[in-house]
């Protein structure tokens, strides 16, 4: 029987290694796999390259991972959000590097990484400072830049319902980057609010087919990042 359930978040993240590229789902707090991130903080892996649209907020979740000095590089589109103070400090002090990628280019690079496309052309960033270092090329009288597919060693994502095969359903705009990160990572680790038997998810509605998922942890009542931040919580 195919059954991708892991016993715990700790077990699910146990083999994340120093220097790994870890894709982390979520746009702001929506879809952030905060329990998996906390397990990764406990686990101890360091020198990570993290791919996420933002850099977390307060001192929990992704911000706590950064604060713990585990992230040597962030790849993101918007590292500056409300209550985001941890990353700016480390960035200014030179302890965490930043690769700034336009949001749509970031999404397309991740999708390309998952789809076996090594590189593609896009109009985004042409004629701006973010074009620097990129190859420019003209198609049909318009200029485009070459962008490269982006893959991860691991993806940590959150969903609403999973089955044992790893078929996933998400919650509203918490879907965001998670389906493409599941495609782009060698090992995709999911925290799901609910885990059901195969056959309980309508095959017409599956968002992430199980082929992209490796491990599933049930987290029935995930904490809410904004609530923790409002309470002034910090992890660990």
């Amino acid at each position: 029987m195919i059954d991708k359930r892991a016993a715990s978040s700790d077990e699910a993240v146990a083999d994340i290694f120093d220097g790994a590229t870890v894709m982390v789902g979520g746009f702001g707090e929506a879809g952030s796999p905060i329990e998996l991130i906390h397990a990764l903080i406990d686990q101890g892996a360091t020198d990570l390259t993290v791919v996420n649209n933002n850099t977390g907020s307060g001192e929990v979740g992704l911000a706590a991972l950064i604060r713990a000095g585990r992230v040597s590089k962030m790849i993101c589109s918007y590292p500056r959000t409300a209550n985001s103070t941890v990353f700016p400090e480390l960035y200014r002090s030179g302890r965490t590097a930043l690769e700034l990628v336009p949001q749509g280019t970031l999404a397309e690079r991740i999708r390309a990484g998952g789809a076996g496309i090594p590189a593609f052309y896009t109009p985004t960033s042409v004629g701006t400072p973010l074009e620097e270092g990129k190859e420019r090329r003209t198609f049909a009288h318009r200029d485009f830049v070459l962008e490269y597919g982006l893959s991860g060693d691991f993806a940590l994502i959150k969903c609403r319902v999973a089955d044992h095969h790893g078929n996933l359903l998400y919650n509203k705009t918490a879907r965001n980057f998670s389906p493409i990160m599941a495609m782009a990572a060698a090992i995709t680790i999911v925290q799901s609010g609910e885990v059901v038997a195969p056959g309980e998810i309508d095959p017409e509605c599956v968002v992430t087919p199980g082929i992209f998922v490796d491990r599933i942890v049930t987290v029935s009542n995930p904490v809410q990042e904004s609530q923790l931040v409002a309470q002034g919580a910090s992890y660990p």
């Binding site: 746009f27 701006t128 705009t173």
Partner: protein, 227 residues
Amino acid sequence: MTDTTPAIGLTRDEMARRVALDIPDGSYVNLGIGIPERVAAYLPEGREVIYHTENGLLGMGPSPELDEGDPELINAGKRRVTALEGASFFHHADSFAMIRGGHIDLCVLGALQVSQHGDLANWSTGESDAIPAVGGAMDLVAGVRTIYVVTQHCTRAGEPKLVEICTYPLTGPAVVDRIYSDLAVVDVTSDGFQLVELAQGVDFAYVAQRTGAELLPIRGGSLRGDA
């Protein structure tokens, strides 16, 4: 969020209302963060528009009551919103396929500067110690068919935001179609800034003086603009 009446020209809500007048019925629209977000509230009676938010929702509705809503149903500004009947959720690559593929009809954005060639700067002041952050702005201006900018005509320090050449880092070159400011509506044409309309109580000279590039007078209109 307070909207005090300025000495002259439009308030931010009046600017949003003015933009809303020009949004075509049935169009697919993306609204940026800030004043652009307010546009939805002023859509004229009888028009139906479908709002796209780049974090994965078409058919975005207004914000829910305070403390209601779902922290996982948010807009690109990370504020809680609602989903209307006929809405759909999708992932980020599909969302930006809508943007990059030219499927969004109209985008309304804020600006730091707009040049007479339609160059837009709205993501960075280029300060060396600032944390650079671009979000989806570059994708929007590169992909959406029509780009409206809504902005104060000048900075708080009184510097013009409509300029000959942007001094701030660009979001995209030659992308802006029209500017709605507190003082005027200005089109970006192949001849440069073309005045379309003046706010009540404002004349051409007043606006031209606060514009950092040549401003062409209203076509067929009076130079005073108060016709």
